[in-house]
């Protein structure tokens, strides 16, 4: 006999356009925080008078936000050579922060497999002369998916790195914790150029292989001073990642190897090279998420160093080896406004040296708690225990920082 049908049967609803993403969408986030770094907020030891000052310290130690801004880079007038990371300028004082106001515009072209994306960020920073706000075009690109039957995407413009995995977590409203790793500076920069992503699914093995390659004006370093958008040499920097994904119902695992090769960002001389390779791993199972990455970086010695703040005389050779392991456990809850609770911990270690200077080995333990509230608010708090293991004086530079991120 025919099966009984519900009296109020429905065939479903599709809006005009079928439910495809809206043509133009505007999203973003506001990231505010509160932080306190030990000491004067820098990693400069009072009695360490080596020059340049930033060659002898762990300049990335006192990170206070997702951009990796440190509490302070004030060297008390001593000479630095342009490698200092970005500073929030709060020193050792407990301070509220306005980290980022982010505006993302995405436009999906009707009738064409084309998407336009831009990410503009307003970055209020404290300076000696008062507050200063930078407007930063972090990304702006068009992406074309030319074939319906292939997972192939071509992007041209300014876009995220393709090296490693930490760039996936750059933004405060995406990152599990607050601060980036000690090796984020080498992998998470944005560049102008072209990139191609291709992936092939291996269904019987619940697997996929992917390749993401880019040719850009500069490499994927985060440069605080020099203009990485510009191509100072006459050759692009090539970078890429080869990835493997295992996607079973219970376990997701992703492995990758990355590489970068090309002229240094700060050199007109194309023979002064920057090279990097790395490996990454992510495993997610039953609310646990493990992420690990190793990075191996080498920069040749170059000539005069060109930055947006001026010309610096030294372009030392540089190398860095380091990585991190992060473990997070997320628990979905429904208690009042609380939707998800995540505890996380990360261990970072980096060994690096400028040519002719003492190698420095540092590590960091980070522990934190994240609360996802309603659907648009994230409250995070974490503590960074920084240690100078070799080559740099021990400094009181641990950090307690918090972040409140509202997404819109």
């Amino acid at each position: 006999m025919p099966e009984e049908e519900p009296i109020n049967d429905s065939e479903g609803y599709s809006p005009e356009g079928g439910g495809a993403p809206a043509g133009l969408s505007i999203n973003g986030y506001i990231d505010v925080g509160f932080a306190k770094a030990q000491g004067d907020g820098t990693s400069f030891a009072p009695g360490d008078l080596r020059l340049p000052a930033d060659y002898g310290v762990d300049t990335f130690a006192t990170a206070v936000n997702s951009r990796g801004d440190v509490a302070s880079t004030d060297s008390n007038g001593r000479f630095v050579n342009g490698f200092l990371p970005r500073s929030a300028g709060i020193g050792g004082r407990p301070s509220f922060l306005l980290n980022t106001l982010d505006v993302d515009l995405r436009y999906v072209t009707p009738g064409a497999p084309l998407m336009l994306f831009s990410r503009v960020q307003f970055l209020p920073r404290f300076t000696g002369d008062g507050d200063a706000t930078r407007v930063y075009v972090e990304q702006a690109f068009g992406r074309l998916v030319p074939f319906d039957s292939q997972e192939l995407a071509i992007a041209v413009g300014k876009f995220d790195s393709v090296f490693g995995i930490e760039y996936l977590d750059n933004q405060a409203n995406i990152r599990t914790g607050i601060t980036p790793s000690l090796v984020a500076r080498y992998t998470t920069g944005q560049s102008i150029g072209a990139k191609v992503f291709y992936r092939v699914q291996i269904a019987p093995a619940w697997s996929a292989l992917s390749l993401n390659v880019a040719a850009t004006n500069s490499g994927n370093f985060v440069e605080s001073l020099q203009p990485p958008d510009a191509s100072l040499g006459d050759a692009p920097v090539g970078s890429g990642r080869l990835g493997y994904e295992l996607n079973t119902p219970g376990v997701q695992a992703k492995l990758g190897v990355s590489g970068m090769y090309g002229p240094r960002n700060d050199q007109y001389d194309r023979s002064a090279l920057q090279q990097a390779w790395g490996a990454d791993l992510r495993v997610a199972v039953a609310g646990l998420a493990l992420a690990a990455e190793y990075v191996h970086v080498d920069e040749d010695e170059g000539g005069i160093k060109t930055t947006s703040l001026g010309i610096f005389p030294l372009a030392s050779a540089f190398y860095a080896r380091g990585g991190y392991v992060q473990l997070a456990y997320a628990l979905a809850v429904d208690v009042g406004p609380l939707r998800k609770l995540t505890v996380y911990g990360r261990y970072d270690r980096r060994h690096a040296a400028f040519g002719g200077y003492t190698p420095i080995t540092v590590d960091r333990f980070t522990g934190g708690l994240r609360l996802d509230l309603w659907e648009s608010l994230i409250l995070k708090g974490e503590y960074l225990d920084n240690r100078e293991l070799a080559g740099a004086p021990t400094v009181a530079n641990n950090v307690l920082t918090t972040s409140l991120v509202y997404s819109y």
Binding site: N8, S10, Y13, P15, G18, M115, Q201, N247, Y408
Partner: protein, 346 residues
Amino acid sequence: MRPPTIVLAWLLATPLAAPSRATAAPAGEVRAWPGEEMPLPLAVRTPQDLAVKAAAEKQYLIFNLLAGGKLAFDGGDFATAAAKWEALLRVPGLDPDLEKLIRPLAHDARARAGGQATAAAPTGAPAGAAGVGPAVSSAARAAALAPLATVSGTVSGGGGQGPGGAVVWLKRASGETPHPAPAHGKVVSQRSKIFVPHVLVVPVGSKVSFKNEDPIFHNIFSLSKPNEFDTGLYKQGATYTQTFKRPGVVQLLCNIHSSMLGFVYVVDTPWYAQAEASGAFTIKGVPPGEYEVSVWHEAATKPTTTHLTVGADGVHGLALRVAGDRRAPQFLPDKSGKPRQSHLGY
């Protein structure tokens, strides 16, 4: 007079007591019960023979209705199960322990059958046949026996998306809402990396097929508890079927394509509808009574619920509103729950 035989004859004469074998048994599921033919071929030569025959036929009928109902229930034919067990409850002098056992089963079967056959139950039951039908109040029973009504109206709101696709459903304000019959043949296709339909409403227990009509792989999944599922990778033309056993919203995602978003809304009531683009909706087959009417929309953070009285003429022009306070999510997660930036990668 032989009262038991008269009762048996009446029971067998009613559509509920003697459903045809063809309607009682979905193919391969429920075996036709062989012993429903009455009277039994027992010789009657003496008054004692007659008494024995009457007693045997009564026990025989009780057994058949009892066991036949169970077979039908196990085979998923809840309407037949309800009919047999309701007929059993009308047998005079039924053992109280047996009545205690069967009454909730009959009620459950009737609810699973959609709860509507009660209105078509025979009204000629013998006086004194206490316990006929589901164990509900006399008022509820009277309402159930009244003609079924229609509730129609318009949903407004839904923010920039408009009210189209809003899911409207009724649940009884007091007492148990009948369990709905599952829907069959429901399909959500993946077409040009879009879920078609974008929103589908189904009764609890329904099977929904996810069909890949794209020339690429998809991996459809949902993290919406307690209806989470994962199709795994499947190619063009392949279909994965999922049974939704619990009510609530099921957010549909693809592990490969981070922009794909759709919904299945699972209701645990037979009285539901989905609004058209204009917001218009119609719910049919509603017994008059007191209800809670609820509306869900993807652009609202939570369903809205209000009280509704349905009279014999139904309700027309009902105006409902859903909030538009929930924007489309900025980042859709992968199946481990990790948010993805759709502008990255593929």
